[in-house]
């Protein structure tokens, strides 16, 4: 059977009052300035995530103790119009080299700024990984904790 039940991709757009090249630069090279510090993989405090500026580059986090944890990879690097990242984190923020989901970000000139369109797709693959996740996902620090963080964030 080649039809599959799949969740719709997550799609988010935002308008920023800067030109596409600057928006692209802040999104990629400046990811440390805006990535939520609470969303980290390693046990140490997050220094910043890093996106290597090339196709095939690493996407990883550096922690304050100098350790590094993989987040994913760079699948396409087309400044200032487009970047495609491979997100390899399970829903509880652990790295899984076998999990491939895509995050495509488009930077389109609009008026006096840039429209940023983000699409996170292939989410059904997270469902395929759910078996291994089942044990930890409802424990402390798992999905419920993450959801609480979002709720706190949203309430600010």
């Amino acid at each position: 059977m080649n039809t599959q039940i799949r969740p719709a991709p997550v799609r988010r757009s935002i308008f920023v009052k800067v030109p596409p090249d600057r928006a692209f630069d802040v999104f990629t090279n400046g990811i440390g300035q805006w990535w939520p510090k609470t969303h980290k993989i390693g046990p140490a405090d997050l220094d910043r995530p890093i996106i290597e500026p090339r196709e095939g580059g690493r996407w990883y986090e550096r922690d304050v103790d100098g350790s590094e944890c993989e987040i994913g990879k760079v699948a396409a690097w087309d400044p200032p119009a487009r970047v495609v990242l491979i997100w390899q984190l399970t829903p509880e923020f652990t790295y899984d080299p076998n999990l491939i989901t895509e995050v495509e970000v488009l930077f389109t000139p609009e008026g006096d700024g840039t429209r940023v369109d983000l699409e996170h797709r292939d989410l059904e693959r997270m469902g395929d990984k759910a078996d291994a996740m089942r044990e930890t996902v409802s424990g402390p620090g798992g999905w419920p904790a993450l959801l609480q963080l979002f709720a706190d964030e949203a309430a600010k």
Partner: protein, 110 residues
């Protein structure tokens, strides 16, 4: 929250995904769902129960029969946190990008 854990473990089973796929084209009674699947009808009922508890499938009575259908809200729960995550992340990105721009403007003005 516990519902989310149930959701993803429900989706991890290939037979349960096959059961879900059977419901893709519309509501069906258990007998029709079991047709063509390599498991017994009681097993299908058991899978439907798990899918129902996970919020992926709902059922209703039609006469003496019970009809199962995909609960459109169930699959959405799985992606809800990512939706929220990217929403918050992009808001934060906008602040960072525009703060940068302000800095440059000030420098240019000096």
């Amino acid at each position: 929250m516990a519902n989310t854990a149930r959701l993803i473990s429900a989706l991890a089973d290939p037979t349960r995904r096959a059961v879900l796929e059977k419901l893709k084209d519309g509501p069906r009674p258990v007998g029709e769902i079991a047709q063509g699947l390599p498991v017994t009808r009681p097993a299908v009922s058991q899978h439907l129960k798990v899918l129902k508890e996970a919020g992926l499938v709902s059922d209703r009575s039609v006469g003496t029969r019970r009809i199962y259908y995909i609960d459109p809200k169930g699959l959405g729960a799985m992606r809800a946190w990512l939706d929220q995550f990217w929403g918050a992340a992009l808001d934060s990105f906008k602040l960072a990008a525009e703060a940068e721009a302000e800095k440059f403007k000030k420098k240019d003005g000096e």
